[in-house]
């Protein structure tokens, strides 16, 4: 059991460490800059002048508190967009890359079901998700303490915990693309385009008659600003995301089982 998970998971450790280090540097920079920015400019007056759609897109509620600042700068950008797109991108190569480079035949010749190959390959993405979500909150917490601010530990834990279903969903979108397309570059573009497109839809339709369309986007169900600024934990949203991820996984499994490997 889990032979592929172990094999592919191990191969992701280095990349995950690099990704996490990059995010940590970004985080460090934001936290380091926060005191000087918040003391020199009234950011809340500034964001009032932004278009509502833009504020909604990046979950900007308040930039004068460390919570609001981190939610807008780090989580809305680093987590929802960057990490979400990264996982869609990584998942998009899971199948298509092996098919394109002729490695899939080698896997399919092993005495294993297609379902096992697909699901265990997908599970290797838990490595970057876990590493980023375990290391970063610790880093954020001590960073915030270091500049003399405080932050609710429970909210910090929740903002990371609730991001897991979101990230699994964007990864599952990538997996569907990976099974549908035989060329990696095509699968990657389709996956990232879908995730980014849905993010845009959710942002643009806010406060319009089409707001209901935003319900299609995974970003609707994970709101770091609400968690950090208002301590509102959208557990229902997280469950919906888990269900969506599961449905997409099952869809890609069915597609893969029926697929003619080119």
């Amino acid at each position: 059991m889990f032979e592929f998970s172990r094999y592919y998971g191990r191969r992701r450790v280095k990349g995950s460490a690099a990704l996490t280090a990059g995010l940590a540097i970004l985080t460090g920079l934001y936290i380091y800059l926060f005191p000087s920015i918040s003391s020199s400019i009234d950011l809340d007056a500034y964001i009032q002048s932004m278009p509502p759609a833009l504020r909604a897109a990046f979950g900007i509620q308040s930039l004068n508190s460390i919570e609001g600042f981190l939610a807008a700068e780090l989580y809305a950008f680093g987590w929802v967009l960057l990490l979400g797109l990264y996982l869609a991108y990584a998942a998009a190569s899971l199948v298509a890359d092996d098919v394109e480079d002729g490695r899939m035949d080698m896997l399919l010749a092993l005495p294993v079901s297609r379902s096992k190959i697909l699901l265990e390959k997908f599970s290797s993405l838990l490595v970057p998700i876990a590493v980023a979500n375990v290391v970063l909150p610790v880093f954020v917490y001590f960073g915030v303490v270091a500049i003399g601010e405080t932050l609710s530990v429970a909210d910090l834990v929740m903002v990371h915990l609730l991001s897991v279903p979101y990230l699994l969903t964007t990864a599952a979108i990538g997996l569907v693309a990976s099974v549908l397309f035989d060329r990696t570059s095509l699968a990657q573009r389709a996956a990232m385009g879908t995730v980014f497109g849905l993010f845009l839809v959710d942002s643009v339709v806010t406060n319009t008659d089409f707001a209901v369309l935003g319900a299609l986007s995974p970003t609707r169900y994970y709101d770091p600003a609400a968690v950090l600024v208002e301590s509102q934990w959208d557990v229902t949203g997280a469950f919906l995301l888990l269900l969506a991820a599961l449905a997409l996984l099952l869809l890609s499994r069915t597609l893969f089982q029926r697929k003619d490997i080119a």
Partner: protein, 324 residues
């Protein structure tokens, strides 16, 4: 019992029939060569039999497992080894890591023995492997779990002649040990040394399935003979000469003679004969004995020639002479 049965297999790729009603069986314990020119549909059959793609029509079994029955195929594959054409591996993994993964899923009772035989740099990353080294790593993984049946798509492509020799010996040993081997090739001379039977496919259709001895006897040799004499087609009186071509090439002989230092550089006519030969060699040597032979090349008949000769479009083999 058959190790592989293929019945009425048809695969249609957007209007192109890669396999058209292909049927044959591979018996347990035999070495079966699946032969055909590039693009004839060999890989399509092999990949369908392995369950990587589904046929448009017809079906196949692999160690009695129906290719449409995934659980049965998974169970069967524990006893099957597979080597694809141009085996692909993770470029960033070492050979060792790949073999470890395969071992964890199917076993590796023969890994050490095979690594001794095929000499793969397993500590190195695949990125640094040559084509031949990848091929050898593919061979190790195909045999390391001691399977009953091994399916190989162009196994000797990328192997140097020495390694090819070693591979041939290895396959013969495996057959003696009771293994069934199904391999494809586009080179007749490559499979003749190891196969019991061959199936020939051309343009997606099975042309024949027969014993390798029968096929070789019929396919003959490709012979090129240059003699210092003016010969016409009528004078070639050896049995078993087909597709004869006779050409006079006088100026070339003059050069050859000077180079050989014979001093006798008269421009005597030279004739170049090319033909496919299915007779016995004694008669050919006897025939050539009457002339000054400048060059004699005997090669395995190219596969395409075999096709043209025996299955070609209306081209009847031209038998010369007959009253030798």
């Amino acid at each position: 019992m058959s190790a592989i049965t293929v019945s009425g297999l048809t695969k249609n790729y957007d209007g192109v029939l890669a396999n058209d009603d292909v049927s044959f069986e591979v018996a347990e314990g035999e070495v079966f060569g699946y032969l055909g020119p590039n693009g004839a549909g060999k890989t399509t059959t092999i990949r369908t039999v392995m369950g990587f793609q589904s046929p448009t029509d017809g079906t196949a079994t692999l160690l009695d497992a129906d290719i449409h029955d995934e659980p049965a195929m998974v169970a069967a594959k524990e006893r099957v080894g597979y080597l694809p054409a141009n085996p692909g591996f993770d470029e960033n993994a070492t050979g060792q890591a790949i073999l470890d993964l395969h071992a964890s899923l199917k076993g590796d009772s023969r890994r050490a023995e095979l690594l001794d035989l095929f000499d793969v740099p397993i500590a190195r990353k695949i990125r640094g492997y040559s084509t031949g080294q990848k091929q050898k790593l593919g061979l190790v993984q195909a045999f390391m779990h001691d399977p009953d049946l091994v399916v190989m798509d162009e196994p000797t492509a990328g192997l140097d002649p020495l390694m090819q020799q070693r591979f041939n010996e290895f396959v013969r040993d495996e057959k003696r040990a009771g293994k069934t081997i199904f391999l494809s090739s586009h080179v007749l001379s490559e499979v003749r040394r190891i196969c019991d039977r061959v199936g020939i496919i051309r343009n997606g259709r099975m042309v024949t399935v027969e014993g390798v001895e029968d096929l070789l006897h019929r396919s003959g040799k490709f012979v090129r003979l240059r003699v210092a004499a003016a010969l016409s087609e009528r004078e070639i009186t050896v049995d078993g000469v087909h597709d004869l071509s006779v050409q006079a090439v006088d100026e070339t002989y003059a050069e050859t003679a000077i180079a050989a230092g014979s001093g006798q550089a008269d421009s005597e006519t030279v004739t170049e004969l090319t033909f496919t030969y299915t007779g016995d060699f004694d008669s050919l040597i006897d025939f050539a004995d009457d002339y000054h032979v400048l060059e004699l090349d005997v090669e395995e008949a190219p596969l395409e020639q075999v096709f043209m000769q025996f299955y070609g479009e209306a081209d009847e083999p031209v038998a010369a002479g007959g009253d030798a």
